[in-house]
């Protein structure tokens, strides 16, 4: 059984079919990418998995649990963490506090323990802090630990988002365009991190990404979407050379002209 399965999922916004009869499955330990032009429905798929949207038809299961029965704040309890395309950090808090919010699902203290800071409260804080420190070490965020998000540059915020998602100790990590807006070096870093997240931490990764260079380097499987429909699925090389994918990006008639264009970007 796959870790994450979407079966015949359809979502409509008014007259627009954002996702049309999509079936896909992500195996444990894979790095899986969704690609496609803007408006193809990639982020919509993410938002259905995080239960911000409810699909009109179909089913989504994670490790045997029916995700559609859950509310959006219950999804992380199963071990699904995500990042956002347009960074959604807690701006008026420090990096450390942001990462500690990631530990929210693992808290054990009651209101009274927290109000008077007795019982498990202190030990729990130390424990959370230790876990968060490991993530900080992993992603080299040490210089920013006590800085407010509001003053951080874009590239660092992107990493903090990844760090916050990792702090939840997920089994499945949803990355919505992890490399968008990053410099060449930062994209390289992101590539190694995604590799390490899979290899060292054993976390399955599902990502949306436009940078085909990054996709072909880190992903095992790629699914191309257009207009909410599945165009092609397979290894990065297979998808990049698929005639329908080339057509979606470059238009009809482009196939003959660019028959041997298999560069970095489709």
């Amino acid at each position: 059984m796959s870790l994450l399965e979407l079966n015949n999922v359809t979502l409509k916004f008014g007259g627009v079919t954002a996702v049309n009869d999509l079936t896909m499955s992500v195996e444990e330990g894979q790095v899986y990418a969704l690609v496609g032009p803007n408006g193809a429905g990639k982020s919509t798929v993410f938002n259905m998995i995080s239960r911000f949207y409810r699909p009109a038809a179909g089913s989504i299961t994670f490790d045997g649990h029916d995700l559609l029965k859950l509310k959006s704040h219950e999804v992380p309890q199963l071990g699904i963490a995500r990042t956002f395309q347009n960074i959604e950090l807690f701006d008026r808090a420090t990096v450390l506090q942001n990462l500690l919010v990631g530990r929210h699902r693992l808290r054990r203290t009651t209101l009274v323990e927290e109000m008077f800071f007795v019982g498990r409260a202190r030990a729990q804080e130390r424990e959370h802090r230790l876990a968060v420190e490991e993530v900080i070490d992993f992603l080299d965020l040490q210089p920013y630990r006590n800085q407010m998000i509001a003053g951080l540059p874009y590239g660092v915020r992107k990493v903090v988002e990844l760090a916050r998602a990792l702090s939840t100790k997920p089994r499945l990590l949803l990355l919505d365009e992890p490399a968008s807006g990053l410099s060449v070096e930062e994209t390289q870093d992101m590539r190694w991190w995604i590799d390490d997240i899979r290899r060292q931490m054993g976390i399955t990764v599902l990502m949306v990404e436009h940078d085909m260079g990054l996709v072909s380097k880190v992903c095992d499987r790629v699914l191309a979407l257009d207009g909410g429909k599945k165009l092609a699925e397979g290894t990065p090389a297979e998808v990049q050379s698929h005639p329908k994918v080339i057509e979606a990006y470059l238009g009809t008639g482009a196939i003959s002209k660019t028959a041997n264009a298999k560069g970095e970007r489709v």
Partner: protein, 360 residues
């Protein structure tokens, strides 16, 4: 400038970052404890008033400053705390128990009211809570068998373990009582801020969508925030009514809620210090104004002057210093610490326009 060399996670968990900071607050506490022996009973009463405002302000700060939910209805919860406390005392409950209970009851009722109200966002929540504040006046009149309606109630004698606390006989004791409540409330406030609940509040304030993605239950967190906020404000209201000695349906009208909101904005939203600085402004401004108008002569004694000055102050703060008095002090402190290297744009923040609010 002081640098903290941290060698332990407890450095970040404990209440005071270093000995210097701890000794500053210890010195402040020593001054506060010594105050009844230094100043006259009139000014002691004024300081007690500041402390009471600060308690009520801390309650609203928890909701508006930490969780980002505006409430214009907190005067209703001050009334609820006050009436509950006095009714319990008249039923024979000892003062200390009645006081703690009135906080808990107000908190629970506040949380129940919050469940439907918190489906509203921003200005709609403000309007709904304002309606609550206006409604409170009528409810007090309708419930006149218990509340005394328009005639109001007199505060009963306060006995703490056989020791009578009377504002006129021993103002020092009243002052110490308010001080103890302030200390306990501030400690609870700080503890909540350094535990998961406080971080969940900040998460809800800054981005509901990603708070949910981190497993924070928005409805539950907002309800908790409302409950804790109402409980603290209820305690403040109880002290205010008892300190005044007599109160009726008009004591806790909606202007009080607006004053409370102005107070935390002027003091600095999201800072504990802000509630205290705001309380000083709110409690001393009327006195300051009356002293000033007395000196200027009768012509300057315009009715409504006080509210007018409050309004102008609020507008000025929102335009020129949205972080309030405490934010201004933090900037001044950094300027002094860096002197002479502070730049003019040191505090200018880049606005972030990329927000996923459309998911709402």
């Amino acid at each position: 400038m002081r640098f903290h060399f941290k060698t332990d996670y407890d450095h970040d968990i404990r209440l005071f970052p270093d000995w210097w900071n701890f000794s500053l607050y210890a010195a402040l506490l020593a001054v506060m404890v010594a105050l009844p022996f230094v100043i006259s009973s009139f000014y002691l009463g004024e300081v007690t008033n500041v402390l009471i405002w600060a308690i009520a302000g801390l309650g609203l700060m928890m909701l508006t400053g930490q969780t980002g939910q505006v409430s214009l209805g907190h005067s209703a919860f001050m009334a609820m705390g006050c009436y509950t406390c006095v009714i319990l005392m008249e039923a024979g409950v000892p003062f200390v128990a009645a006081f703690v209970l009135c906080g808990i009851i107000t908190g629970v009722i506040g949380a129940l009211i919050a469940i439907p109200a918190l489906k509203l966002h921003g200005v709609y929540l403000a309007i709904a809570t304002l309606a609550l504040a206006i409604l409170a006046d009528d409810i007090i009149v309708i419930l006149s068998p218990w509340t005394g309606g328009v005639n109001g109630k007199f505060a009963p004698d306060l006995m703490i373990f056989g020791y009578e606390i009377n504002r006129w006989v021993n103002p020092g004791a009243w002052y110490y009582m308010a001080l103890v409540v302030v200390l306990v409330v501030t400690l609870i406030y700080r503890n909540i801020l350094r535990s998961p609940l406080g971080r969940a509040f900040a998460a809800v304030r800054d981005s509901e969508i990603s708070a949910q993605a981190m497993g924070v239950d928005i409805a539950r967190t907002k309800t908790m925030a409302f409950g804790i906020s109402c409980a603290i404000t209820g305690l403040g209201g109880a002290l205010m009514g008892l300190f005044a000695g007599a109160f009726n349906n008009e004591t806790f009208n909606f202007l009080l809620a607006i004053q409370l909101l102005m107070m935390i904005v002027i003091g600095g939203l999201g800072f504990i210090h802000g509630a205290f600085l705001g309380a000083i402004v709110v409690a001393f401004l009327p006195q300051g104004l009356s002293i000033l108008t007395d000196q200027m002569g009768r012509g300057f004694n315009i009715p409504g002057l006080e509210m007018g000055v409050f309004g102008l102050l609020l507008i000025a703060f929102i335009i020129f210093e949205p972080h309030g008095l405490y934010g201004r002090w933090l900037k001044l402190r950094i300027w002094l610490e860096l002197f002479p290297f502070a730049r003019r744009d040191l505090f200018r923040r880049q606005k972030s326009y990329l927000k996923t609010e459309r998911l709402r």
